[in-house]
């Protein structure tokens, strides 16, 4: 009797765990619109530091302080784009200047 029920119980437990995971994901807005997704990301970012602090207190050891990285990928990307486009826009005049200088240098050498 028990041997027959056990596989059913195992399957029911697995389905409950998987279904519960999907429900939690759906309920917290992770599977919704883009706007809900960014709201959830903001909430998660706000919730992580207190959660980490609680776990650290529970386990009783101190994590090393996270170094503050003052690097903004957005600013780096934007400045990279601006510098590349600026370089492309002045490239023809720069090349012509260098060509003139080179020709002048060669003329001076042949004098």
């Amino acid at each position: 009797m028990a041997a027959k029920i056990l596989p059913v119980v195992k399957l029911a437990t697995k389905v409950t765990i998987a279904g519960g995971a999907i429900y939690v994901a759906y309920d917290s807005g992770l599977l919704g619109d883009g706007k809900e997704g960014s709201v959830t990301l903001g909430r998660a970012k706000a919730a992580i530091p207190p959660a980490v602090e609680e776990w650290v207190k529970y386990f009783g050891f101190e994590l090393p302080a996270t170094p503050k990285i003052e690097f903004s990928p957005l600013d780096a990307w934007n400045s990279g784009v601006q510098k590349s486009i600026h370089a492309l826009s002045i490239a023809p005049s720069t090349v012509s200047d260098y060509t003139k200088q080179g020709l002048q240098y060669v003329k001076d050498l042949t004098k």
């Binding site: 995971a21 992770l30 883009g34 960014s38 990301l41």
Partner: protein
Amino acid sequence: MSEKELGQKWDRCLADCAVKFGTGLGLGIVFSVVFFKRRTWPIVFGTGLGLGMAYSNCQNDLRSHYVLQSKVAKEQ
């Protein structure tokens, strides 16, 4: 669409991509462990689903500015 609005849409797209990638990965891992004996393909499948959902949301969000939207008046 103004540049500011477009920038905000792209920011939302990237955030949504990260969220859906993580969700797909997590659910893929759960399914892989629970049903599929820790094989890799459910994880890859879940991640792919998440990225696909993010792509679709992003596409709808970027196109929404140009799509005519009608509002049906509620019957009082």
